[in-house]
Amino acid sequence: MKNDLASRPWKGAEREYDLLKELVIALAVVGALVLALSFAFGSPDDKSITLQSWAKAAPSDFVATAASELGGTSGTAGYGPPYNSASDGQVIGPINLQKLGGVRIPIDAAAVFVTTPLAKVSTDPAVTTAMSQWTGASADQQAKWAGDYGDAITKAPDGDYTKVATGDYGPVPAMTAALLASAQQGSLDGVLGNQGHFFDTNYTDSLLFIADGTYLEDQARAQHLGGDQWGMMNETGSYPGQSWLWLYTFWYQVEPFSSSGNADALVWGLMMLLTLGFVIVPFIPVVRSVPRWIPVHRLIWRDYYKAHPR
């Protein structure tokens, strides 16, 4: 583009323009807006879910989740990197970045979510016996017990874990019931995932456990925060959320992403490309000429064009 003029310092007429005064006025106006909006609307602050609140509100979901952790069928148990090698994770064509990241946050689901915390919170000899029966069994036997119990809960009336059909579930019902009881009492929060540090600022384990259930998602979907509800843009209550994520969340709503097992990786890959494109607009032919073709600039600089007609 022939923009020699734009490359050179402006030698034409100037006008007085007080930058500091402009900043002070901007601070006053924006400050007034911030205060007014804060007084008028406040901010959202929905209370966190705790293991206790989850166990009390949705005990069958809690028990079913605990069983899936034991059986290796939960989301976390089958996730792949960075938590384990149960799966290779998502791919973008031939590229597997998830695997490349490595298993840097190793989690043995059955241990982290059930057996380790249960050993810490329970002194009941019946639970100790159940745990011994569990650890003494083969991996296949463990998977069968836990899988069968999970299926039984799904098939029970109302999905109620107390109404499952009789069957051979080994020690799984006793272990999960004991974990539930301690959670409902509040003894599990702060214990599950605690790696023995006095000061613990890492909530990975508790959050993964809660997210493996359906209760968290049910609460979220009730507030339109689900992925297929454009939830990434939304906020709890009636508050504005993150409108700037519109394009990122848009792709999840449409094919081929909406039904792809690699949706996250594909959307990230696409957004990285588009982001790069956005940042290097000055170098992209056609796109960089759009402002010339659609003359919004004639409105912006109308005073100038009027004073300097061609």
Binding site: S38, Y239, V254
Partner: protein, 69 residues
């Protein structure tokens, strides 16, 4: 004599005008469906305000300044 902990915060809360004066948007959100698009009323309002500000900025006259040599 020390004041029991649960009462210490009370006077401060009573003094604070914030709880009395602030409104909130904690009610369930309104969502607008339009084809594949689902958008919250709050987000839609924000976007419309942004567009309105842009258009206003283009159209409103800007104060003339003093010319400088």
């Amino acid at each position: 004599m020390s004041v029991p902990h649960k009462y210490r915060a009370a006077p401060l809360a009573l003094l604070s005008p914030m709880t009395a004066l602030t409104g909130n948007l904690n009610g369930p959100g309104h969502y607008i469906d339009w084809g594949p698009i689902q958008i919250s009323l709050a987000n839609l309002v924000m976007i419309l305000i942004g567009l309105a500000l842009f258009v206003a900025a283009l159209l409103l006259p800007f104060p003339k300044g003093r010319k400088r040599p």
